[in-house]
Every structure is written in structure tokens, then in C-alpha cells.
């Protein structure tokens, strides 16, 4: 009998333990188990209300009853019928001891119960001008000079609708904030000085970026650089040798040479040197070099012996139909947004360089601007294994100068330092607290 009594006592003890355990092991209500993410809902609601900056306007005009009435209507209309809310605007850093000072609040309930959540959203006054300071290219690694060939004595080709000078001005506006110094090379005499590593305005010649705004033509100084055996190949009656020397200089000074459109270095230009010669299309002051110019440049960049090579190397839509419409790479699209430069996302490439030049001339691509199509590279920055780079935008005319700027920024990736939002009176904090009524 005693054992039965003992067992009954044990049962009573276990029952007590179960009841006590059940009392404390309270399972949450379904709403707590599987809640709507009110924090995210609040944030997205605030973003939706501010998509036309109406929320910002109301936050900075807390005494305007009409604005706040409209805001409350929009808020009520956008939230589910069982949602209750409290929207409060705070002044940020009003100068007192409190970091956030409440200014105005609207709500559709006396309290939001125990299961509420909130999100905050910082709005800026429309009067605020935010400043962006770009990192200067070369300020830490040396160099940082941008040369823009704005030679008044050289004509351009395939820059239809523009002049080299107008393109140079646009490039100056777009790119000068990103470089330590920007120098406009005003004529071929100044170009000759730069090629001789003589600074024009005290800038650093080494590691510079040189943009040729003359399109398929390149300005050529008269004199030494046009002389036989230096710039002139008397055997083939060609100035392809000048392009070869340019390649050597790019390597020697670790320059980045930029061709903005078409077949690079297809003509050489100097109005005084070629007053009676034309490029076979009626533009006087320049002379056709043909594909030998680009081939010579690459030979120079690779520090090879000069040999005249007039082989056409670029491709167009006849080579690959996809070159008819090449698209910006995802990286380029990203930098469009980062730098706020928005060229057309697709273009026609009629002078795409073949990928075979990479192994032939010891080059690597550091940035693709447009997607590579098969073996054709429409636009990219090519870096030589030892020294020197060139950017070739092998697109059809007319050039989009924004692509040139974007390509360089994609390659150098200077950072943008944006100003803070913390100035007194320029920012306000909007907090939307949400709760749900009804249900379990």
C-alpha cells in the first residue's frame, strides 16, 4: 500500500511540475510568431510618401495645416485598414541639450498597444545645397595631370557637329575636378614641349592623362616630330612613325592616351604643316596615316622596333553583327550612377579593337566600358605590362564626350566625398510608428 501511496505522491509532484512548467511556458500569439514586419512597412511607407518630396516639404513646414492634412490623408490611404500609426517630426540638433526635439505629430489612435514598431527617415530641407568633393586622381600616387589637346592649329575628324575646341571645353568641365591639374594644350608647339617632358604650367608630366579631342586625327608638331626618321617614314611616305613615337612617349612617361572616337591615330593634323593637303575627305591641314598609325603606336608602346604595318585591325558589324549595338558593362552603369554621368547605355561600334592585340602587344584590359563582343573590344582601357595605357573608344561618330569622362573615371575610380547632413536646421527626422489592431 505504501508503494501505491508513494506513486500517487510522485504523480502529484509531476503534475505540479507540469502545471508550473505550463504556466511559465506560455506560447506566443500567432501575431507574435509570424508578424508583419512593421518596421519595413513603416520605412517603405515613408519612402513612398517622400517620392515627390512632399514629406520633406511637410516636415519643414509644420505649421501648414493644409500640407499636414494632405499628408495625413495620404498616410491613412496607404496603410492597411487595420494599421494604426503615429508620425512625428523631430528637429535634429536644434542647439539645445536634446539631440532630437519633437516638432509635430499626427496619429489615428491614442496609443499603439504593445506590439508596435517604428522606422525613422531623415529628410533634408530643399534649401540645402550639398557639396561633393572628389578625390583628385594622382594626389597620392604622383602625376594627376590631365592634358586636353585643344590645339588651335589642328583640325579634327569624325567629331562631326563639334570642334576639337568645344569638346575640350566640355571635357574640362567634366573632368578637371578629378585631377590635380588640368592643362589645355593650346597648339602643337605646346604639344611638342609636353612630348619633350617640359611642363607648361608647372604640372607633373609623368603619369598624366592625355585626351586627344581631334577624333581620328592627332595633332602633330612641325619640326622635330615631323622630321624624317623621327615622325616621318620616308620609305612609305607616311607619318605613321609619329604615332610610333607617341607610343614610345606614352610608355616612357606612363601616360594614359585617350582616343575619343573611331579608328585611333588614323590621320595626323597640322594646319601649318599641311596647308595644301587634305585627308582624302576634303579636310585640309591633315594627312591620312591609315591603320599604320595605330599599329605604329602599339609597337612604340611595346617598345618594339618600328616597322610599317598598314594592316586594318578593327572590326565593325560586318565582322560581328552584335557590334551594331554594344552595351555598357554593369560596372560602367554603376559608375554612371556614382559620378552622375549618363550617356546612352548602348552605342554602335565600328572600330572595335581585336582581343588579339592583348597578347601581341603585352596588354591587359583594366576596365571594359562596353561589353566585349566575341573577340572584339569596343571600348576599354588597355594597360601595357610595363608602362603606359591607352583608352580607345572604337565607336562610330559622333563622339559622346561623356563616354570619355565615364571611361576614365571607371578606370581611376576617384572617390566622392559628400558633405554631412548634420548642419543645424537642414535635416529633420521623421519617425513613423505602426501598430496593428484586431486579430490575434
Amino acid at each position: 500500500m505504501m508503494r501505491t501511496v508513494e506513486v500517487l505522491l510522485v504523480i502529484i509532484i509531476i503534475t505540479g511540475a507540469f502545471i508550473i512548467a505550463s504556466f511559465f511556458a506560455v506560447l506566443p500569439s500567432p501575431r507574435q510568431v509570424s508578424p508583419v514586419n512593421l518596421r519595413r512597412l513603416a520605412l517603405t511607407t515613408l519612402q513612398a510618401l517622400d517620392q515627390e518630396h512632399d514629406l520633406s516639404e511637410a516636415a519643414f513646414d509644420t505649421d501648414n495645416a493644409t500640407l499636414w492634412s494632405r499628408l495625413q490623408i495620404a498616410l491613412s490611404a496607404s496603410l492597411p485598414p487595420n494599421a494604426i500609426y503615429n508620425l512625428t517630426v523631430f528637429e535634429v540638433g536644434g542647439g539645445g541639450t536634446e539631440l532630437y526635439t519633437p516638432l509635430r505629430s499626427v496619429s489615428n489612435a491614442e496609443n499603439l498597444g504593445v506590439a508596435s514598431d517604428s522606422s525613422s527617415y531623415l529628410v533634408a530641407s530643399s534649401n540645402v545645397t550639398f557639396n561633393v568633393i572628389p578625390e583628385k586622381i594622382g594626389e597620392r600616387g604622383g602625376g594627376g595631370t590631365l592634358y586636353i589637346l585643344n590645339c588651335s592649329d589642328a583640325n579634327g575628324w569624325w567629331i562631326t557637329g563639334y570642334t576639337a575646341q568645344s569638346l575640350a571645353e566640355d571635357l574640362y568641365k567634366l573632368l578637371s575636378p578629378y585631377f590635380v591639374s588640368t592643362v589645355m594644350v593650346q597648339n602643337t608647339t605646346q604639344l611638342e614641349r609636353v612630348l619633350n617632358k617640359t611642363a607648361l604650367q608647372g604640372e607633373t608630366v609623368q603619369n598624366a592623362v592625355v585626351i586627344n579631342t581631334c577624333g581620328e586625327a592627332v595633332p602633330m608638331p612641325a619640326g622635330y616630330y615631323a622630321s624624317t626618321g623621327v615622325g616621318y617614314d620616308s620609305v612609305h611616305s607616311s607619318y605613321a612613325r609619329y604615332c610610333y613615337v607617341l607610343g614610345l612617349r606614352v610608355r616612357q612617361y606612363n601616360w594614359t592616351w585617350v582616343s575619343i572616337v573611331g579608328y585611333p591615330l588614323y590621320y595626323v593634323g597640322n594646319a601649318a604643316l599641311f596647308p595644301n593637303e587634305q585627308n582624302s575627305w576634303g579636310i585640309y591641314g591633315m594627312r591620312q596615316v591609315g591603320p599604320a598609325g595605330m599599329n605604329g603606336f602599339l609597337q612604340g608602346l611595346n617598345n618594339e622596333q618600328y616597322t610599317y604595318d598598314n594592316t586594318w585591325i578593327t572590326g565593325d558589324s560586318d565582322s560581328d553583327s552584335r557590334l551594331a549595338s554594344v552595351h555598357l558593362t554593369p560596372e560602367a552603369v554603376y559608375y554612371c550612377n556614382y559620378y552622375g554621368i549618363y550617356p546612352s547605355p548602348y552605342h554602335t561600334a565600328t572600330r572595335a579593337l581585336p582581343s588579339s592585340i592583348l597578347s601581341r602587344y603585352n596588354l591587359t584590359v583594366t576596365s571594359y566600358v562596353f561589353e566585349q563582343v566575341g573577340t572584339w573590344i569596343a571600348s576599354a582601357v588597355f594597360r601595357h605590362g610595363v608602362s603606359g595605357s591607352f583608352l580607345a573608344l572604337g565607336l562610330t561618330r559622333t563622339p559622346d564626350i561623356r563616354l570619355t569622362a565615364l571611361s576614365l573615371l571607371c578606370d581611376f575610380k576617384p572617390r566622392l566625398y559628400r558633405s554631412d547632413y548634420t548642419a543645424i536646421g537642414t535635416s529633420r527626422l521623421v519617425v513613423l510608428q505602426l501598430g496593428l489592431v484586431g486579430g490575434v
Binding site: 510568431v33 517603405t44 495620404a74 490611404a77 496603410l79
Partner: protein
């Protein structure tokens, strides 16, 4: 001795029964707690998955505007950040809301979002992204089922309250929980002219304007020029207030059986087919040739509708008929700006009408339901976000459930 043995047996039996009973009770509590934990994990997963869909554009980023099959799923508009979705990616989702239709002349099935007569969005299965593929891309295949619903936050209902002399159209605007009082209402009113001889193309006149809703979110518009019940027209209204924008529309036609149906043909090439309704709805003869005249309107930044002319070379006018030997027509939309393709049609001098198709899901605030059916699932977690699709406010709701079999034991 016997009594002690009986006492022993009884006590052991009672003890064992009691222990089993308590083990069962405790086990049930523990099991229920585990299930609750799984439900909580499901809710977290639901929120994460919804953000995953809304906050990345997918791979490639422009998949919504192309014919390619994405290798990463995401609905964010690649040109924006935050919760702004691409109207074209949404257009490529294979809707489960409507019954798919089959068009014999292309031999294809079409995902069907039809919002009343004359408002179609038909995307071929070859261009649409289906649930199975999306599940694989999201990594939920075999582990979770989901249904994504996007519905406009603002409902703009348009009702004809008087047919003629003058035509009166009543517009009422409301949000999910409240009427939209004092909202600006930009409208576009298109009347169809069926004059001209046999075989003539219909003409249309576009009239636009702006009014405001009253305290109850309603507005009444009058069109004095409409003096007959046979005048076909289309009415499109955009309501906006404090960043919330909604769209409403209404058509009246005089030929309801024979009309034209626009079907998306190729999104990358912006091509739309114009089909005869009999080819899709299989009505019998007699059949009449239908002449059509298409136009395209876009919503500008100041919330007015602007017509973008379609060149005749893009197929803006044409004729379609039913049956063998009568091919469909093709229209090329000139832009990737979301807008509305308005196709006026003419069956005879007294019968005609107008149909519309959104180019980009949001242009007509079409809802979309994508995914599997949650009916009958043991536990479905839901979460929602307010999103913007080309300026139009939508609510995105995701229902998620586990496909792993578990249940409460005991």
C-alpha cells in the same frame, strides 16, 4: 506477502502509465514550441525573401527589357535604388491571376492579366518568367512555396453615370484604408470617330484636363460633346496626392464581340501583335474585317498624359481578320518609357471601340499575382512593403510557406 506483491504491481503499473502520460504531455508542449519556432523562422524568411526580390534588379539588371532568361531574380528597377520596381520585370512575371489564353496564329500560350473588357496584358509564355524558374533562382525550390502579389495602393474607380448629353463620368479615388480627398486628378479622354467609307480606319480625338477630388475622394466629369450612346470612348485618370499615384480607366464600345486584342510579341524589340478577337475567343461567323488605329501615351513628370506618335512604319494603322489566310498585324512601340497603347478599332460605320494595353505593368496600375497557391498550407507567413513602380504606388505582399512536412505530434 501477496498484498505487498499486489501493491508493488499496482504501483509500478500506475507509475509507468503516469510517466508515459507526462512524457506525452511534455513532448506535445515541446513539439508545439518547435513548430512555433519554425513558424517564426518562416516569418523571418518571408521578410528576407521579400526584400531580396524588391532590393535587387536581378542578373542581368535589364532582364525585364530583354528576352533573356535571368540568372538572378530581382524586381528592382535598375535605374533606381530602394523599393522602386521595374515595370518591365513585373510585366514578364507569368501571372497566375488569369486563365492563360492560346493564340493559334502564333501557336503560343499567353499569361493573362485582363482587367475588364478592353484592358489586356497578354505576355507569351516564351517571354514570361515562370514560378518554377523563379523558385530555383531564389533558392527556395523544394523548401518553400511562395506567392507574390502586387496590387495598387490607390484604387481609382471610373463609372459612367450618364451616357450622353452630356456624358457624365464619376471617378472615385481611395487608398487601402481611406478615401483620397483633394487629390489632383489628371485625365485623358479619347473619343473614337467611325466616320468614313467602308474599310476606313477609325480616327480618335484626345482631350485631357485636371480636376480635384472632393472630401469623399470623388469627382464628376462632364463631356458635352458626347451626344450619343454609340460613341465609343476610353477614359484614363491618374490621381495623385503626396507621392501616392493611382490609375483608373474605363471604356465604352459599340462592338463588343468583334474587336482587336493586343498581345506582347517581343519585349526586347518592343513588338506587339494585333489579333482579331475571334481568333482567340473562337466565335463563329459572320466575321468582319476590323480596321484599327493605334496610339501611345505616356505619363509625364507633371502627371499629364502625353501622346507619343506612332509612325505608320511601325504599324500604327492596319486591318485584321479571323481565320486562315488573315495574319495578325504588328505594332512597334517607340520607347521603353512605360505608357499605354491605345488601339481604336472600327468594324463598321456604326460599330467600333477602343482597347488598351499597358506597356510596363504600372501604366494602368494592373495588379499581378505570381507564384503558387497557398490554399491548404499548414502555416503561411505574410509580409508586405510599399513600393513604387514607375511612380505608381503599389503594395507588395509575399505569402510564404514551408514545403518540408512537419506537424504537431502527440
Amino acid at each position: 506477502m501477496t498484498g505487498a506483491t499486489i501493491d508493488h504491481l499496482v504501483s509500478v503499473t500506475v507509475f509507468l502509465v503516469a510517466i508515459l502520460l507526462f512524457i506525452s504531455l511534455f513532448n506535445q508542449t515541446v513539439q508545439t514550441a518547435i513548430i512555433y519556432q519554425r513558424h517564426r523562422a518562416l516569418a523571418t524568411k518571408c521578410s528576407d525573401l521579400l526584400d531580396n526580390m524588391m532590393l535587387n534588379p536581378g542578373i542581368p539588371a535589364e532582364w525585364g527589357r530583354s528576352n533573356c532568361t535571368p540568372t538572378g531574380f530581382g524586381l528592382q528597377d535598375p535605374e533606381f535604388t530602394q523599393y522602386k520596381l521595374s515595370p518591365f520585370s513585373l510585366m514578364r512575371l507569368q501571372s497566375t491571376g488569369g486563365q492563360p489564353i492560346y493564340y493559334p496564329k502564333t501557336g503560343l500560350y499567353y499569361s493573362n492579366i485582363t482587367m475588364g473588357f478592353g484592358n489586356f496584358l497578354l505576355v507569351p509564355f516564351t517571354e514570361a518568367i515562370n514560378y518554377s524558374l523563379t523558385s530555383k533562382l531564389l533558392g527556395t525550390n523544394g523548401t518553400y512555396g511562395f506567392q507574390l502579389t502586387l496590387s495598387p495602393v490607390i484604387t481609382v474607380s471610373v463609372v459612367e453615370s450618364q451616357a450622353k448629353n452630356p456624358l457624365r463620368i464619376s471617378v472615385s479615388v481611395s487608398g487601402t484604408g481611406f478615401p483620397l480627398a483633394n487629390a489632383e486628378l489628371s485625365y485623358c479622354f479619347i473619343t473614337v470617330s467611325l466616320s468614313g467609307g467602308e474599310g476606313a480606319y477609325p480616327a480618335y480625338v484626345i482631350d485631357s484636363g485636371t480636376v480635384y477630388t472632393d472630401e469623399e475622394g470623388s469627382a464628376l466629369l462632364e463631356f458635352a460633346d458626347v451626344n450619343s450612346e454609340n460613341v465609343s470612348y476610353a477614359f484614363i485618370a491618374y490621381a495623385h496626392l503626396n507621392g501616392l499615384v493611382g490609375v483608373g480607366y474605363h471604356e465604352r464600345v459599340s462592338s463588343e464581340n468583334q474587336y482587336v486584342i493586343p498581345l506582347i510579341d517581343n519585349i526586347a524589340e518592343k513588338r506587339v501583335l494585333i489579333a482579331h478577337s475571334y481568333d482567340i475567343h473562337y466565335y463563329g461567323p459572320p466575321v468582319a474585317e476590323i480596321a484599327y488605329n493605334a496610339s501611345f501615351v505616356i505619363l509625364t513628370e507633371d502627371f499629364t498624359l502625353r501622346e507619343v506618335p506612332l509612325d505608320n512604319s511601325t504599324g500604327s494603322t492596319g486591318k485584321v481578320n479571323y481565320g486562315e489566310g488573315y495574319p495578325y498585324s504588328v505594332i512597334t512601340i517607340p520607347t521603353y518609357n512605360p505608357g499605354i497603347l491605345i488601339v481604336t478599332y472600327r468594324k463598321s460605320a456604326v460599330e467600333g471601340g477602343v482597347v488598351m494595353m499597358p506597356w510596363g505593368l504600372s501604366s494602368m496600375a494592373f495588379p499581378v499575382t505570381f507564384g503558387a497557391d497557398p490554399t491548404g498550407q499548414e502555416w503561411v507567413a505574410t509580409d508586405m512593403r510599399q513600393v513604387i513602380v514607375n511612380g505608381i504606388a503599389y503594395q507588395a505582399k509575399l505569402a510564404l510557406w514551408s514545403l518540408e512536412d512537419y506537424q504537431v505530434m502527440g
